[in-house]
Amino acid sequence: MKTVTKTALANVKQNKGRNFLCGCAIALTTFLIFVVLTVGYGMIRVQLASVDAYYPTYHIMFRQVSEKNTKALQVHNDIEEIGLRMDLGQIIDDDATIIMTAMDNNGIRLNKAELEEGTFPKNEKDIVVSKGVLEELGIQGKLGDEITIPYQIYEKDGMGYAKEDTFRICGFMESSDLNKEKKMYFVMNSMEYAKQMIPEADREYRVMFRLADAEHMTTDEIEARGKEIGEDFGVPEGNVVENREYLVANYTDPSFVKGMIVVIVMVVLAGILTIYSIYYVSMIPKVQEYGKLKAIGSTKRQIRQMVFREGMLVTALALPVGLLISSFLSRWIMKQMIAFMAGEDPLMQVAAELVKNGEVSLLHWWIYAITIMAVLFTSAVSLAKPMRIAAKVSPIEAMRYQGLEKRGKKVRKGYQNLTIFRLTKANMARNKKRTGITIVTLGATGILFMVVATILSCAAPKEIARKDIESDYKIELETWSGDKMNPDRDWRQVQQNNPLTKAFIDQVRDVDGVEEVKVKTFMNGKIPKLSMDGEIWDADIIGLDASYAETLEKGEIQGHVTYEELEKGDKILMSANMVYWFPELKVGDSLKMVLNMGDDQVEKTFEIGAIGDYYESLGGSSFYLPQSVLEKMNPNNLNYTLEITVNDQKKNSAYQELQALADNSEYLVTGSYEEQLQEWEKNMRLTSVLCYAFLIILGGIGIMNLVNTMMNSIYTRRRELGMIQAIGMSEKQLIRMLQLEGIIYTLGTLAVSVGIGSLVGYGAFLYAKTKHMFQISEYHFPVVPAVLLICVVAFLQVLLTYGVSANFRKLSLIDRIRYAE
């Protein structure tokens, strides 16, 4: 072994204390980087795997594609895999819709179609049914049985004459609750049968395909490419359907990656600051030694190498320890997280299953590689300055070395009378840089802690839940538009046959425990002038009664308009969300809207009376108007939401009755404050646990730094302290002085953490508020976390002072004086 390496190795052993602390900091840094990467990437992978397991895997589907175009698409260069589905007709039944469909093998795979038992159709007359279908048709059957079914074939201009045919049941698929509820089922025939029944010219396929090279594309690019191909084959945009869930889960999310990078950079910075500070601080007593090495002939380069190799040897020992610990712990952390998130989310349950069975590998060689590189980088950067300091020492200077302070200051004002406190202050002032570095390192973690604590405390689940839902219980219509399969769901239809009738509302009022019922009405349409990405913007208007007048006015942030003025029908109150999308909109502007009135439309121009910022609970709409204004324009039943206040004592029974009432119509959905609260509490709990766990580990790195600074500040002054004791300082006074130093560190750290932390935290709150993050709106100072932080830091300091001074007192006074002589 070369002399330099040997010396470095000897130094590792000699500076046990410092190197142990350094090792801890390195191991913790390793742990954090590794776990952030593993868990972060693991979450993406698990989500992806569970989406793969749960959703169809095609990227794009074209509807109504002719046989000719289908063939052309099958050989298209940009398409990697293509599957076909053809709907051939409907089974004749009194009340249920049973669609006969056929898929080729690729189609079955891309659709993730699964059977409860049996196989997919192999022979021409094979059929896959579900128990629900058989029940609807009132026939019995098991695998292999032949059943005779009456049906109508889809033809160019509607449905053909009734026919009948006999099929052999080859498989059963599941019939879901949704199927039963909507009375809509599918059976699957063979492709041959479908082709035989429908002449080539009439065939219309649904073509599902995956694009080639999609791994490198974003969601938007995939969609755009899909539309392009569609255009080439004359598929109108309305018939191009992208597989949203699948695409979103697979081909995003750049912001997640960015978040991970930010976290890792933070960890690396904390690591650098700590390791650098440990080396910097403990370099002071070593300077003489390096001076001697220089005196006997070491070159600058050799000294630099010695410091570097010592640090790297420690890294080489600590890094594997960190990797080992984190490898074992990350699977456990992952499991806990997913178990926590699983709850009732079917996708997350799939994810939990995948992780449990070890189907998603969490440990990847590249995560090890990145972690190792990041940690080596951290060590190397941390060592750069200490290396320079050691190399710069001149042998002559080293022998007389008194400390690292520059010889800038020549005089000190000083005090007439000295006390222990003044003595301590003088010493802290001498090591301004060292004191500063320690306080800033420790404080930085504290600031981060306070910011996170502020956000978490502002995100009070009770408040948030209240902002999501205004009353105790809500019964609301569920409508959507543009669904050809469910045209009845369009609000234009529902308002003509609205289940929220006066009679229904009276029924709700009569439920025992219901104290108040407020009705919100709704009207929609388009704003021709405004469009985004080629789509004309929707005009959603919620109608509110006079009891909301105050809420509306309070929320106004630009301009001012009263409820009475709005009632005149010329002005409208616009949500601040609109300004987010269309910043050019201002108070006083005119907006022409085309509003839906059942099947008709009406044009109406409003002046923007004011812009207001409102919570989701008000309805989350773009515009608000008095109910009377909507009623005047549209005679249909516009009731959309019932906000129900329930007596606390009777909640359980009332909720059940209300649910039962709502269940009478498939168009109604319900929600309660309690449900909303639970949801948020669950979300926030996980977020809090994760955030605080991360901060505690980061804090751990900071504490290594504190221990080192305290130890060094005492050990490097061994002789000085011994000398002051020789001229009369008692042990008690010495301990008091050390405690005072500890207190100054504590106060400094706390001033930085709590003081600056609170300010930055408030800034973060303002940011979160404008961005509507976690629905935050009111500032709550994080009292409990702040007190906890103060207690923990103070306790640690006291503990450290006692530990270090007890250790120091083991040395006899003579040893202290003799040190370094």
Binding site: R407, N417, L418, E720, S730, E731, I817
Partner: protein, 223 residues
């Protein structure tokens, strides 16, 4: 005259077996008030250990050290520290000033540790004697070796101790400064009526003392 400083059968050994070092081997000494005593001996003869014992910095294996007739090792550590700062002034070879304090603060440090008010007139008198009156605000690292040692002497005198113990105070100084410092120390001590015990291996300096004690292998061979 009654002895101000006395040792009775003082013993301090270091190590064991073959490595046993008899630093102080049954030593008896008597020093009278106002005396300037030089302790002379070769390196490793036990001079420094003896001085540390006299000052109560280290505890002996057996025997007693009496200061004004009182056995200092009967005192607990805490009391001993207080006793030390009131009765004894130390001067070390390597000055040992506190680098973060200026000249004035270094000098009044023992008074501050004792919780007493500084007798400014008295301390200024000492400072004028050592010729540092225009350097009061200077930090130690701006002073020369001789200047630093003069500050250390002033520090030892400032709390008016009865006894000054000096461990080779001029070991780091050139011969001209050395003589200056010693004459100054001697005149101060006689002016303020203090007792001075000084370790040295310099014959010239030893000659300036009222009395010379020679130590060899932990024993007094000539008093």
């Amino acid at each position: 005259m009654k002895a101000i400083l006395e040792t009775r059968d003082l013993v301090k050994y270091y190590g064991k077996g073959d490595n046993l070092v008899k630093a102080i081997d049954h030593t008896d000494l008597i020093i009278e008030p106002g005396e300037f005593t030089a302790i002379v001996g070769r390196s490793g003869s036990g001079k420094s250990t003896l001085l540390h014992m006299l000052g109560g910095l280290d505890r002996p294996d057996s025997g007693k050290v009496l200061i004004e007739g009182r056995d200092i090792f009967e005192l607990k550590d805490e009391k001993l520290a207080v006793f030390r700062r009131r009765k004894i002034g130390f001067i070390f070879q390597s000055y040992n000033l506190v680098p973060s304090l200026n000249v004035w603060e270094n000098i009044v440090l023992p008074i501050g540790l004792d919780g007493k008010k500084v007798d400014t007139e008295y301390v200024m008198d000492i400072i004028c004697r050592i010729g540092m009156e225009d350097k009061l605000k200077s930090l130690p690292n701006t002073l020369s070796g001789g200047q630093q040692q003069r500050v250390a002497i002033a520090r030892a005198l400032a709390s008016r101790p009865a006894i000054i113990l000096a461990d080779e105070p001029t070991g780091n100084l050139d011969s001209k400064t050395e003589l200056e410092v010693i004459s100054m120390l001697k005149s101060c001590v006689s002016e303020y009526g203090q007792t001075l015990v000084m370790i040295t291996h310099d014959e010239t300096i030893a000659q300036m003392a009222d009395r010379m004690i020679v130590i060899e292998d932990g024993k007094v061979v000539r008093a």
